[in-house]
Subunit: 351 residues, 2 copies
């Protein structure tokens, strides 16, 4: 899946509720020719998000295709309704994309390939429907060999879901590359996979293959880079998703961990009767749980301060968090990832 | 799936390499009318395993059906080749069972329902092909409500795979019932499911649903019993399977844990480059990892001493293990589960 010029569907949700679209626009190598949002035709991306590449916002794929003079490789579905279903109001756009010879990339729970009309149409037009949430068929159990690759491996882990593990991972890779480190991102979730253009959707694989699906990616990339940054998922004490977290932790055999947290988060997101333990307890739990498979340590912290309005307060929160974690920390979006990469360089690359 | 009178297929593997067959014979409520092993026709179960119900060993399903005067409900596949495939040499027996109006129950990775001939034949004869390793379609993420049921919940956890967690769970349930405790077994693996006649195969569910698939079973049974014993899987530091273990730990929200170990085991089974940590480290890891979701403690130990020939040496090993774990321990097969149930009664039911 290599697409150079893409259109992103984000109907009625751009930009606030279009996380996938924004992720691809901010971190992907693809050039975004247009965003589809039928509520905002005539506006531009820069009217809403000034710090990413600009593009027109249009009502339909046909309009986008015209605006790009037909030079488009793919349509990406950049939003997800609750439940991950396919919204029938998108069908005309998807149909138009296929008929224009474009691939369609989707991270929905609903697989486009299972849609009779769309899969028939795609076959007719020789384009690919890429359901990034559908694991491939050859996954199997881990062999315990992730540590054998040439690259050093860092994994982002979290105190909870939705604290910014993907963003931290991508910012770390970007900053490391700016310093001349040959770093690569190892995606584990649908947005990360759409950004990177490859990867296993770990939360959808058979539970027995959780670690194995991570290991497969590390073995694929590990001898071609100096640093791999594995996107973590969930948290090791999450009432529902800890299995995914644990499989990624052991499957990655990481040499260092970056502990991600959201400022002010005190209870599990969506599971508010469960308190988050203190940050130092996470550090110890992650390290001790990982150790029998591969010795590791938390080498940096990433604090997501997007809900802290005031810059000084955010800086204070990062400082307090750094003390809690006991290692260099930063908000990778507000501060950049330099301090985090410092920790990785000192403890993992030079350590 | 309630079968009263069954035949078990164990060709060329009875009894040593027929773990599933032996498990069903030892712990299931089903009456076993015959065992199929084409290497041992004319012998009897008691020639090899004296402490379970006796039954004839015959060469084919037809012979078994005749010996049982046609009073058979189902054929159980009691063995699994490496890889979990279907051995074509079994096809005649499976075909004969279906044609005799019997259900066929299988824990193979290869699903009988995906076999064109067998599924067509089953439809024709109105019988069920039950692939216990195929999860049902309605599984979803955990809600964190397992602790809300009336029953107290105990989970067997392990230092490794294949240390006797299923056996310990079943022995605990049996011993608890003998003491008048209304206990029920919550199966999580294919043999446990074949024994119990229901259950979710946790190692085959989507990783996001691991805890949810355990929770579903606890909610289903939890208000009808006083004690649920959840069959654990793998180990929390297993290089390949820890995700499954972690999901069961958090999904069960157990009030007490029984730590299972095999005497003499020092490295991970099948992953010999990984050392097992000391037993007290497991105790702390399991307890601390579980605590943020549901406070719990290791309340008893189960040591599998089947590889210790001498009775005195086994007793010594159990004693040493009990010291390591810091709670009452026993080999539930050699000693019975009384000391284990003591720990559960003291710390979980009365505690």
């Amino acid at each position: 899946m290599t697409h150079e010029r893409i259109v992103i569907l984000a109907h009625e949700k751009f930009p606030e509720r279009a996380k996938t679209a924004l992720g691809v626009m901010r971190y992907g190598d693809q050039s975004v020719e247009a965003v589809l949002d039928r509520d905002r035709p005539g506006e531009r991306v820069h009217d809403h998000v000034p710090d990413i590449d600009d593009a027109p916002i249009v009502s339909s794929f046909s309009d986008a295709y015209e605006a790009a003079d037909g030079d488009v490789d793919a349509l990406y579905i950049g939003i997800a309704p609750i439940g991950g279903g396919f919204d029938e109001s998108w069908r005309d756009d998807v149909r138009a994309a296929i008929e224009s010879g474009c691939d369609v990339v989707s991270g929905l729970h609903y697989f486009l390939n299972d849609d009779e009309e769309l899969s028939r149409l795609a076959a007719e037009h020789g384009v690919e429907l890429r359901d990034v949430r559908e694991p491939h068929d050859d996954l199997t159990v881990a062999t315990g060999s992730s540590a054998d690759v040439d690259a050093r491996v860092v994994c982002t882990v979290g105190t909870d879901c939705s604290v910014g593990k993907m963003t931290a991972s991508l910012e770390i890779v970007e900053t490391a590359r700016e310093r001349g480190i040959d770093a690569a991102f190892v995606p584990t979730g649908q947005t990360g996979i759409m950004i990177a253009g490859w990867g296993n959707p770990i939360d959808r694989v058979i539970s027995d293959f959780t670690a194995g699906a991570v290991e497969e990616m590390i073995l694929e990339l590990g001898d071609d880079h100096d640093l791999l940054v594995v996107e973590g998922q969930g948290s090791i004490i999450h009432p529902a998703y800890s299995a995914v977290t644990c499989g990624i932790l052991h499957g990655s055999m990481a040499d260092g961990l970056v502990l991600c947290h959201a400022a002010g988060r005190e209870v599990v997101h969506g599971y508010e009767s469960f308190d988050l333990p203190p940050v130092p307890e996470y550090v110890e739990l992650y390290e001790r749980l990982a150790a029998p498979v591969h010795e590791t340590a938390v080498v940096a912290g990433a604090l997501n301060t997007k809900d802290v309005d005031d810059g000084d307060a955010a800086a204070e929160a990062v400082e307090a968090y750094s003390t809690d974690v006991g290692v260099p920390s930063a908000d990778p979006v507000r501060d950049g990832a330099d301090r985090i990469v410092d920790g990785i360089v000192d403890e993992v690359l030079d350590g």
